[in-house]
């Protein structure tokens, strides 16, 4: 600015990351959801210190309602289930279990999915086509159905449920990373980098990766909530975690029998799943908006 008078100030242009943070912070709903999510994560981490009892320990009081009921017992804040296990402790340990399982699932599927996605995007058109066809097919199928079939084939139980959900989530990562990379590859700046003589790995780490990161982050949160939902759905259907594991879906399926007699054993675990999912989805939505991504 050659002749700009000093009394006029120049606007600042913030960096990408701080712009995301600023934009995310503006979304009050997303910020409060993030806080809730952090609380849930803390509960999961510190479960042994937070839970008053062992999640499988059985007490004398069977199906004791939460303490705010007239017949409630203050020893058990959220009451006990039909075997006299403290529901609060079970839910707290359930948070630990659910988050742990979801993390494992997402790690497995993200690693495999992103690797496959990069491979397909950066290699020849035939492999790309084949993998694309396959992921399209799998994506068209209902993921829970596929997970159920996989569990049915390899047998019910926690490890198998994890594999099933992870397998089901892989195509999402393949597709998202592949599309994001392809999209970036077509842009002029990448051509410019290639013309500048960058090799493939440098091109990938310095030019492409930073630009596909937003899509991957959003896909990660999405996968995380899907993983929690499907693991608990499998648990509910009796195909995932088996009792006495305090998995939320498993607790729900166990207590469905008592819906008429002890409704809190149905409402509370569901509420836990619901709030976790809601906060993850809100955070994901906030991230998507902040990073200005389209669906």
């Amino acid at each position: 600015m050659i002749n700009q008078p000093q009394f006029y100030r120049q606007p600042e242009i913030p960096g990408t990351f701080s712009r995301w943070v600023k934009s995310f912070n503006k979304n009050k709903l997303a910020v409060s959801a993030l806080i809730v999510l952090l609380v849930i994560i803390l509960i999961a981490i510190f479960a042994p210190w937070i839970a008053p009892y062992d999640p499988t320990a059985q007490f004398e009081e069977l199906s004791s309602p939460p303490y705010w009921y007239d017949s409630g017992n203050s020893k058990y804040i959220l009451g006990t289930d039909d075997l006299g296990r403290d529901l609060f402790s079970r839910l707290v340990y359930g948070a630990r279990l659910s988050l742990k399982l979801a993390t494992i699932v997402v790690l497995i599927s993200a690693t495999i999915g992103i690797l496959l996605g990069c491979m397909t995007a950066l290699t020849n058109i035939w492999i790309d086509n084949i993998i694309l066809r396959l992921t399209d097919l799998i994506l068209a199928l209902p993921s829970l159905l596929l997970a159920i079939v996989i569990v049915a084939l390899i047998g019910p139980g926690l490890p198998n449920a994890i594999y099933a959900v992870a397998i089901v989530l892989i195509p999402h990562f393949v597709l998202v990373s592949r599309n994001a990379i392809k999209h970036e590859l077509n842009k002029d700046y990448v051509t410019a980098t290639i013309l500048d003589g960058a090799n493939k790995s440098r091109l990938f780490t310095h030019s492409i990766l930073p630009n596909i990161l937003p899509s991957l982050i959003v896909q990660l949160t999405l996968a995380f909530s899907t993983a929690i939902l499907e693991i608990s759905a499998l648990g509910f259907l009796g195909l995932g975690a088996q009792p006495p594991h305090p998995e939320w879906g498993t607790i729900l399926s166990e207590s469905y029998v008592y819906i008429t007699i002890a409704p809190w054993t149905v409402t509370l675990p569901g509420l836990a799943i619901f709030f976790t999912l809601l906060s993850i989805n809100l955070v994901g939505d906030g991230l998507r908006d902040a990073m200005d991504l389209e669906k």
């Binding site: 039909d82 088996q242 009792p243 029998v257 008592y258 819906i259 008429t260 007699i261």
Partner: protein, 553 residues
């Protein structure tokens, strides 16, 4: 070409459709006249077949033998006393080897769109029904993939020498040896009488397998329509020999999920609910229009330890497990006090029960010492196999397994629970693949032999009903001896000895004898429970005088 679906008029139409649907949902609570002579029974599962010869499951009997068929002689409801049915009277020879039955005249088989009988019931039908099960060359012997469970396991193929038709209305059974429970056996469900004429008809049509699918019997109801896993419809048999039933229809609403069954009961969708959970019994007492009908069951729920597999080949370990399990807490949590604690293989209301038998007391410390003695100072890992199906002797085997898991943890035994669907559970355990299993038994004929030889004899290890695979030859011989005696006293003495032997060997942890319950709408009158826990719809009627509104209290 453009389908302009989205104009205003269509939107308005859509709005009206929604409103009318919602209204339809709301204003539909007037009492239903259709229900006035229809009984809806919420049953616990689909029958495997409509032929009781091919089953050992009460679910199948409820749906087949009791409504559709009759037997020569039958148990009175609520008891194990025998009464005439298709046979009006009978005679037993002095050597106990020959049974002669005089048959009822004027009994007609069901007439339906798939079969119209041309003659009445006679001796040929009796012979047909038993020959099918006994004779390997009978054209109907091999048509089903299912086995003649009771006939074979009770050894009737070896027991019955031949069946003679003396005339159209007289039949004689000749046995190879004297056997006192034989008469009870003939009153059991598998001894139902099928139509020989229908059999010929099906053979001619080359569809013999229909005999088990489209049943023709003489019973009070005939099959109307069946949709697997959904419902069974029966209609009253207009020609029933005792007179047409007051109920026009009986409908089985197949509802395996017990809480759903109870919810349907509360909503008035069901008139009778099978196998309520113990908690439902407590909850049902709060409602005026429903009542609980119960009867002590002739059953046992037990933990069978596979004595062929370590560590349960060691008697000390088995006793230790007996000491380690807290039956009281199981009866409290699983049965909600609707069962009695078990110590013998037979239930207390069975005539051979030994009151004086001493049970192993709950004592984890003693259990630990016994384990130490047996060489398991640091405990061991074991597997319990259960079923996720609800059984009349065990409302929730998975829960029971979890409780046992907790108890055994206290004596350093790590328990792993595997739960199977019931059919899978049976095949798994009868092949002896399990280390231990939560099994159970319901008496079929009120005879203690049904427990001792079926569950604990060496023969039963082959047929798979001996879930502990415990084979004590002297024990087995004694059960055979008791069977051949006709005097009750002599048998009683043997059974008491057997119970003591059983207790010492401890192949099981006997856990509980469950009380049988049905929850019944108060408009149902004259509903009775069979001694084996099944439901009787014969002579049931409805009292609609105080019609309650559909949405109840």
């Amino acid at each position: 070409m453009i389908i302009n679906l989205f104009n205003l008029r269509l939107m308005r139409l859509l709005k009206w459709i929604i409103i009318s649907v919602l209204l339809a949902g709301c204003n539909f609570h007037e009492t239903k006249s259709v229900k006035d002579n229809v009984l809806v029974y919420c049953s616990e599962g689909s029958p495997e077949t409509f032929n009781p010869q091919l089953s050992t499951s009460n679910t199948t009997f409820d749906a087949s033998s009791r409504p559709i068929y009759n037997r020569l002689i039958e148990f009175k409801p609520e008891s194990t006393t025998i009464q005439p049915s298709l046979a009006t009277n009978w005679e037993v020879s002095k050597d106990g080897k020959s049974y002669t039955f005089n048959l009822r005249k004027g009994v007609r088989f069901h007439s339906s769109h798939y079969f119209q009988p041309e003659r009445e019931f006679n001796a040929d039908d009796v012979i047909f029904s038993f020959e099918r099960q006994k004779n390997n060359d009978h054209p109907f012997h091999n048509i089903s993939s299912l086995k003649f469970g009771y006939f074979d396991s009770m050894g009737l193929d070896k027991l019955i020498n031949r069946i003679e038709k003396l005339d159209d209305y007289t039949v004689r059974f000749i046995l190879n040896r004297a056997e006192s429970p034989f008469l009870s056996a003939l009153a059991m469900d598998f001894a139902s009488i099928l139509s020989a004429e229908y059999g010929e008809h099906l053979l001619a049509a080359q569809t013999p397998e229909f005999i088990d699918v489209h049943p023709v019997g003489t019973g009070p109801f005939q099959l109307d329509r069946y949709q697997p896993d959904a419902f069974i419809r029966y209609k009253a048999n207009p020609d029933y020999w005792e007179g047409k039933q007051l109920l026009a229809h009986v409908i089985f609403a197949i509802t395996p999920e017990p809480s759903l069954r109870f919810a349907r009961m509360l909503a008035g969708d069901c008139d009778i609910m099978a196998k309520p959970l113990p908690i439902h019994i407590k909850a049902a007492q709060k409602h005026d229009n429903i009542q609980v009908i119960s009867q002590p069951g002739l059953n046992i729920a037990y933990l069978a330890m596979n004595t062929q597999k370590p560590p349960f080949n060691n008697q000390l370990v088995r006793v230790a497990i007996n000491h380690a399990i807290n039956k009281n807490s199981i009866i409290k949590a699983v049965y909600r006090e609707t069962a009695t604690k078990a110590k013998s293989p037979v239930p207390p209301n069975m005539w051979s029960y030994d009151q004086s038998l001493i049970d192993y007391q709950y004592n984890p410390e003693l259990a630990k010492e016994l384990l130490l003695e047996a060489g398991f100072s640091s405990g061991f890992k074991m597997n319990i196999v259960t079923t996720n199906a609800q059984r009349s002797y065990n409302p929730n085997a998975k829960k029971m397994a979890e409780l046992i898991q907790q108890d055994l943890k206290k004596v350093n035994i790590q328990v792993n629970i595997t739960s199977f669907e019931f059919g899978k559970f049976l095949s798994y355990t009868s092949n002896g693949l399990h280390q231990s299993a939560l099994a159970g038994w319901v008496s079929d004929n009120g005879d203690p032999d049904n427990f001792f030889s079926t569950l604990l004899s060496c023969n039963a290890t082959h047929s798979g009903t001996n879930a502990a695979f415990w084979c004590d030859h002297s024990f087995s011989e004694l059960t055979a001896e008791a069977r051949s005696k006709s005097k009750l006293n002599e048998r009683l003495i043997i059974y008491k000895t057997l119970q003591k032997t059983f207790k010492e060997a401890a192949p099981w942890v006997p856990i509980a004898h469950a009380t049988q319950h049905f929850i019944v709408n108060s408009r149902i009158k004259n509903f009775k429970i069979a001694s084996n826990g099944g439901a009787f719809f014969t002579n049931v009627y409805l009292d609609n005088s105080n019609k309650k509104s559909h949405n109840g209290d």
